[in-house]
């Protein structure tokens, strides 16, 4: 007779699972409400989701640092907590953007909000584990939910975007499993810390390095897809264009920061093992990504596509920080994304405010530059707000992204990579051109005759204004909260051992 499995509840440490369970339960509650009574207004679901996110946030803040749980597959270290906070804040800013004055297809389904919460749970699993299988499950749960969220926008190019993203995501998943399989084959374990120990012992065996590099390459390719790094970035502009503006802004932050944390866990292991190939190839990819995306952004005619390429370029910046692999550069990743989040979400929210149901400004694009011409005369506040976001993205001090940028540049200087800091500087200068282009259109060009306040401010509503107000405030006042933020982040990164 088999021995009954004895597990005490305390050993499971279910507290580590609380945040994800809250998100999942929230999703189920929303589905149940829909079962009981149909045709409830979207505002109910929006507010419920916000509340659930806030509870989730409470649970996350209550986590003990460096706690393990659930058969040791959960790892709640400092970076896991910081990432979850960033994810939750971004989500709390994103969801109220559903309360537009015009009706959009996706928000009439409660499933949208349920899926969103499931995605949140997936992302939270993904960042708080060092077990390759749980990471994979989290990654896939969140990705599958995200594909559906994109497709729900119900336009032909959003279907295209979803299918494109899905296909690319499937390929990335394949790479991930192959990479993990190689690592498992080499070490007999799926836990990153144990893999690291075994590889440390075996790295000098003949032929071993080639296998390690092989595994690392598969994983790198997989995360390059997720992070839209060159040469795996080609899906990003189309997917961003097809998704609704807030979702595109959300995608440029949340799935990326989650993928950055996992890359930090995986690739810093290789860098610590002195596999130089990994560091070099990440650096090469990062540099090409930031430069190429910048050059592509120069020639875009649509602001949303420009912002898509600019997000790719920013991801390149942050990927370089992963390759530098010091405590400072790892803190810089979170500082950068924590600050970039507000600015980028704000910029995409401005596009959302000005979004029409139909393409009234251009045959192909929703947000051509011409649409914003002369905005200073039509709606001065809107123009000033958008200009602040653009200046911030260009890295003009004292706006938020500047602080992240100098921190990354400074960490590059610290390890002697002056060339990298200079390339970053030059790239910032190139990027200033396309951000300025929008400012030039808004401030220095005459408005076209068909544009009035209604046509530009088409989709505005109080909740959207509130979100914009919060993001602008965070962008402008960042100089006052960078200090505590940086202190918290550095502490969290340090206790996690990165």
């Amino acid at each position: 007779m088999l021995e009954p499995v004895k597990i005490s509840l305390e050993a499971l440490n279910l507290a580590t699972l609380m945040p994800m369970l809250i998100a999942v339960a929230g999703g189920l509650i929303i589905l149940t409400i829909d079962l009981i009574k149909e045709n409830l207004h979207k505002s109910l679901y929006v507010m419920l989701t916000v509340l659930i996110i806030l509870i989730d946030m409470g649970a996350t803040l209550g986590l003990n640092v460096n706690d393990r749980g659930f058969f040791d597959v959960m790892l709640v270290d400092g970076i896991a907590i910081v990432t979850q906070i960033i994810i939750l804040v971004a989500s709390a800013l994103f969801i109220p953007l559903a309360l537009t004055s015009k009706r959009f297809h996706e928000y009439s389904y409660p499933e949208f909000f349920a899926l969103f919460l499931f995605m949140l749970a997936g992302l939270q699993f993904m960042v708080s584990s060092d077990n390759l299988i749980l990471i994979f499950i989290g990654l896939e749960t969140s990705s599958l939910a995200l594909y559906t969220l994109i497709a729900l926008h119900n336009r032909h190019n959003s279907f295209e975007a979803a299918v494109k993203y899905f296909t690319m995501g499937a390929l990335a998943a394949g790479f991930f499993t192959m990479g993990s399989a190689i690592l498992y084959g080499l070490s007999g374990s799926l836990e990153l810390n144990q893999i690291a120990d075994v590889l440390q012992d075996r790295i000098f065996e003949p032929g071993m390095l080639a296998l390690i590099i092989g595994g690392a390459s598969f994983l790198l390719a997989s995360f390059a897809f997720k992070l839209s790094l060159f040469p795996f970035h080609t899906w990003a502009p189309d997917v961003y264009e097809g998704a609704s503006a807030p979702l595109a802004g959300y995608m440029s932050i949340v799935p990326k920061i989650a993928a950055f944390v996992v890359s930090m866990r995986i690739f810093e292991m290789f860098i610590k093992l002195n596999v130089e190939w990994v560091q070099t190839s990440i650096l090469v990819m990062a540099v090409i990504t930031m430069t190429l995306a910048n050059i592509m952004a120069l020639v875009q005619e649509d602001v949303k596509r420009m912002l898509a390429y600019s997000s790719i370029s920013h991801a390149g910046f942050v990927m370089a920080a992963i390759a530098i692999a010091t405590t400072k550069s790892n803190s810089a990743v979170f500082l950068y994304y924590g600050l970039f989040m507000f600015t980028n979400l704000g910029a995409f929210a401005m596009l959302w405010v000005s979004r029409h149901k139909h393409k009234v400004h251009h045959a192909r694009f929703d947000h051509p530059y011409e649409k914003f011409a002369g905005m200073i005369n039509i709606m001065p506040m809107g123009a000033v707000v958008m200009a602040l976001f653009m200046l911030s993205l260009a890295g003009v001090p004292p706006f938020s992204v500047f602080w992240g940028k100098i921190y990354i540049m400074s960490s590059a200087v610290d390890v002697g990579m002056i060339w990298l800091a200079i390339i970053m500087g030059i790239n910032s200068a190139i990027s200033a051109y396309y951000y300025l282009k929008l400012i030039v259109y808004m401030f220095l060009k005459e408005p076209s005759t068909t544009i009035s306040e209604e046509t530009v401010y088409y989709n505005v509503s109080k909740p959207l204004m509130t979100v914009l107000g919060l993001t602008v405030f965070a962008t402008v006042a960042s100089i006052f909260f960078v200090d505590p933020l940086l202190e918290y982040i550095t502490h969290m990164v340090q206790v996690s051992g990165y």
Partner: protein
């Protein structure tokens, strides 16, 4: 008033934000009042300034990002004091000169000017590298808008070129600043961007060289040194009068000020090493742009190029590394600000009346507009460096100081006074003397009260400081001497020490 520097920096910002509420038709009056208060505050700063103290005064220190060593740190010494006063004065007079009938959307103009004033004052008062960089970059934004919104036909191109050119240079400078902070961290174990702490940093000559070059990228583009000067004629050509005035009078000084505040005291050895390099560039800049100025047909371009040429003389003075040259170059920054500001105002005046700046359109203006011609004449003489005008003092001191470094260079640089006299007098002759060539010009009105209010104070200063420059030269000299002593103390290589000392001694022996 302990916080006078913060008040000076943030008063225009606050006034600018509140200015959004002010009615369009009252915007100019609002602007004048705010700028006047700011100017009075700056005079108060001068009054309470201790002229015998060579170091930083009225220091304020508030940590902002303590972990990374960034703090709000301001202070003023003899070098920055007068540049701040000059910025406030030029902004005030520039706003007075604005013509309400010609400038569309006056409120936006006033608000941008007030923001610009904040950044200008901020740059000259900051003692923290990042805060300095912050104001430095921020100053581009209002200027971009001023050129782009009120400029000539290709204003957008000129504005964007101005922005990108200076932005690119200053990012290289940022890498340099971050490296210095890192080196300081290596040596002292703490992060700081405090300039006064950085002055204590002992750097190897090789490092100094590279860091000097990194900062050079930012400063040289701003000055603008040859061959990085190409953005300036575009910007001047397209900018509205007020834009050109502030650009020439104040924004260019940021570059030379950067050399004095950062490059010299931080990298004394590299600075000495680089003397021949800077010298060559500056002399080329001085002579070449003077000749280009001579070839211009547009009055404003003549003044734009002559202004670049004079910036070259300022650079020579900075790298003369003695009290005369350096003090003279700081005085020349002030006089160049006042004179070129006034000249751009004068060109603006005639442009507003006739809609053209081409010299061949004019002729015999002296008989139609005698007062205008007189003021123009005085400013022109000051620009050429006629004795008893403000231009003479600075130029003479710079050349005197520079003689110790290179007699031949001094002769070459001195030729600009001659070339300058030629192109300026040609300009004056063609436009003001002789018969009235263009019948359209007969009906032109002479300066009115508004223009006189803006210009007469400048005329008064030109004569006053030309005759009696001591109240300004005194404090400058005190701070400059301290700077040179610190440099000599800090210099590592005996050659650099010797150069700096011998340059001082040669002077004292005379």
């Amino acid at each position: 008033m302990e916080h006078i520097l913060s008040i000076l920096i943030f008063f225009p910002l606050l006034a600018g934000i509140l200015g959004f509420v002010v009615d369009k038709n009252s915007a100019k009056a609002y602007g004048i009042s705010v700028a006047a208060v700011e100017f009075l505050l700056s005079l108060w700063l001068w009054a309470s300034f201790d002229t015998t103290n060579a170091g930083m005064q009225f220091n304020e220190f508030i940590p902002i990002i303590s972990q990374f060593g960034i703090s709000y740190n301001v202070g003023v010494d003899g070098i920055s004091l007068f540049i701040v006063i000059m910025s406030a004065l030029i902004t005030l007079l520039g706003i007075i000169l604005l013509d309400e009938r010609k400038i569309a959307n006056m409120k936006n103009m006033i608000v941008s000017l007030l923001f610009l004033e904040m950044t200008m004052v901020g740059v000259f008062l900051s003692l923290d590298a990042i805060i300095f960089y912050l104001f430095w970059e921020l100053s581009l934004v209002p200027m971009l808008y001023i050129i782009g919104a009120w400029g000539g036909p290709t204003r957008v191109y000129a504005a964007v070129k101005f922005f990108l050119y200076t932005f690119a240079g200053s990012l290289i400078m940022l890498v340099g600043l971050l490296s210095i902070a890192y080196l300081y961290h290596l040596e002292a174990g703490v992060w700081t961007f405090n300039l006064l702490d950085w002055y204590q940093l002992d750097l190897s000559v090789g490092l100094q060289f590279w860091l000097f070059l990194a900062l050079f990228a930012g400063f040289a583009i701003k000055v603008p040194m040859f061959p990085f000067h190409t953005w300036l004629p575009h910007a001047h050509g397209q900018a509205p009068t007020i834009g050109s005035v502030i650009l020439a009078a104040v924004l260019l000084k940021m570059g030379t000020y950067g050399f004095v505040r950062f490059s010299l005291p931080l990298f004394p050895d590299a600075s000495v090493q680089m003397i021949p390099f800077i010298l060559t560039l500056s002399i080329i800049m001085v002579i070449y742009t003077a000749m280009v100025a001579f070839a211009q047909k547009d009055m404003k371009q003549v003044i734009a190029y002559s202004s670049v040429s004079h910036m070259g003389i300022i650079m020579l003075g900075v790298f003369a590394m003695n009290a005369e040259g350096l003090g003279g170059s700081i005085f020349l920054m002030l006089s160049h600000g006042i004179v070129s500001g006034a000249l751009f105002m004068l060109v603006g005046v005639i442009y507003e009346r006739t809609g053209t700046k081409t010299m061949s359109e004019f002729g015999g203006l002296a008989s139609i507009m005698p007062v205008y011609a007189t003021v123009f004449g005085i400013m022109l003489m000051a620009s050429v460096g006629l004795p008893l005008t403000i231009g003479f003092v600075g130029e003479f001191l710079v050349l005197l100081g520079f003689y110790e470094v290179s007699p031949i260079g001094t002769v070459l640089a001195g030729t600009t006074i001659i070339i300058g006299a030629i192109y300026m007098l040609t300009l004056f002759k063609r436009s003001f003397f002789g018969p009235v060539t263009n019948e359209k010009n007969r009906g032109l009105k002479d300066l009115d009260a508004r223009e006189l209010t803006a210009l007469l104070p400048l005329v008064a200063i030109v004569v006053w400081l030309g005759v009696y420059p001591k109240p300004v030269l005194g404090p400058i000299d005190t701070s400059v001497k301290k700077l040179l002593v610190d440099m000599e103390y800090k210099a590592r290589t005996p050659e650099a020490k010797e150069t700096i000392i011998s340059l001082q001694r040669a002077k004292e022996e005379k």
